[in-house]
Symmetry: C2
Subunit: 193 residues, 2 copies
DNA sequence: AAATGATGTTAATGTAGATTAACATTTTTT
DNA sequence: AAAAAATGTTAATCTACATTAACATCATTT
């Protein structure tokens, strides 16, 4: 099991001792998924938090009309999980599905308390990571309220150019909260300028 | 300075020793604001996180057209802060203003590292608090994408009946991401049923 | 109690983005 | 290389909500 990508990521935020690295290695597992596979399905209880080593996942909600709404993508060095289901161990509102073959390092709910207790630095790391995710989420709410779909698309394109390249356009539309037809219109309009 | 409300809040999540309580008391300050006063203004760097003891605040963004978009309210036992500005010490995107006379217990950025270092349990508390806030924020994004304004209003009303009672309707509209005129229409429509 | 400002309502008109549907293109499977 | 599946485009029509504007009510100040 190669957890080097996770260690590299961690080392940017906190410094672990050799002993802590050994302990961490014993707490996580490695898992490969094929394109199309579900890591989590709406209604199931989420037992794990995945650190993406390679590939890409989408987290989405299927509403009562069967419409899919994408909340986030996760690529290399990102975390992929329905945190709500994880922290309260209640049925998930969301699906997490791989849109490429994906390799993950997995933290299990059962080990989490022990991991935090043994390596408080990791609790710090997760606090900081979630702080950033929360801030990004609030900014997204504001953008959805105060900006047009075109403006939001341009920001997405500029913020995540690598992600836009590797996912189909209808998923970008879903992430932006618009239809694929309207995103198509926006793009042709941008192309004319 | 009476920090009992904060201690009561903390005791629901983690248990502090007497020594830790003494230390915490030395790290925070008490502050009163009048209705209308700003705790934070867009563009300023946020130096503090407030725990609301009494009163009510709103956090909002003023867009380029001068329109106000409310992100959250904070009443008793809630946290009120632009976390993005706080954690990165960069100019704030948001305003925090008191919509009632408000009393707060204030954590200062300068003390925060020391507080976490001295009371790791508080880092745990903040991790959990922010986890919940993040989850709520994600659910709000999904609701904004998948539900009508009427459905969102009904959920707000059922989730925060006390808050709806104490704030003007045009602020509820702003929080929901609609105009006050449209919320008025929704309410009269509900009344007819 | 009059005046002022803040908040709420109603109705007409406008628009960003949804829906539908038909077709075009690209990718994957056989 | 043909067929099938997935993805993307275009255009007509529809709708949820915004905008504007005029007025109504309530709260606060003088």
């Amino acid at each position: 099991m190669n957890i080097q990508p996770l260690l590299n990521y961690i080392s940017k935020i906190v410094t672990l001792t050799d002993e802590e690295i050994t302990f961490l290695t014993s707490q996580v597992t490695y898992r490969k998924y094929l394109k199309g596979q579900y890591i989590l399905q709406q209604g199931d209880i989420n037992k794990s938090v995945c650190f993406v080593v390679s590939g890409c996942t989408k987290m989405f909600y299927v509403d009562t009309d069967g419409q899919e709404h994408i909340l986030m993508f996760a690529v290399e060095d990102w975390w992929s999980s329905d945190l709500g289901s994880f922290i309260s161990q209640t049925p998930s509102d969301f699906n997490v599905q791989c849109i490429e073959d994906t390799e993950c390092i997995v933290f299990s709910y059962n080990n989490m308390e022990e991991t935090y207790a043994h390596i408080p630095k990791l609790e710090r790391l997760f606090r900081k990571t979630i702080e950033k995710a929360f801030v990004a989420s609030q900014k997204r709410i504001v953008r959805n309220f105060s900006m047009s779909a075109k403006e939001r698309y341009l920001i997405f394109r500029d913020s995540y150019p690598e992600i836009e390249q590797r996912i189909p356009q209808y998923m970008v539309a879903s992430y932006l909260g618009i239809t694929k037809e309207f995103l198509s219109k926006i793009k042709s309009q941008i192309a004319l300028q």
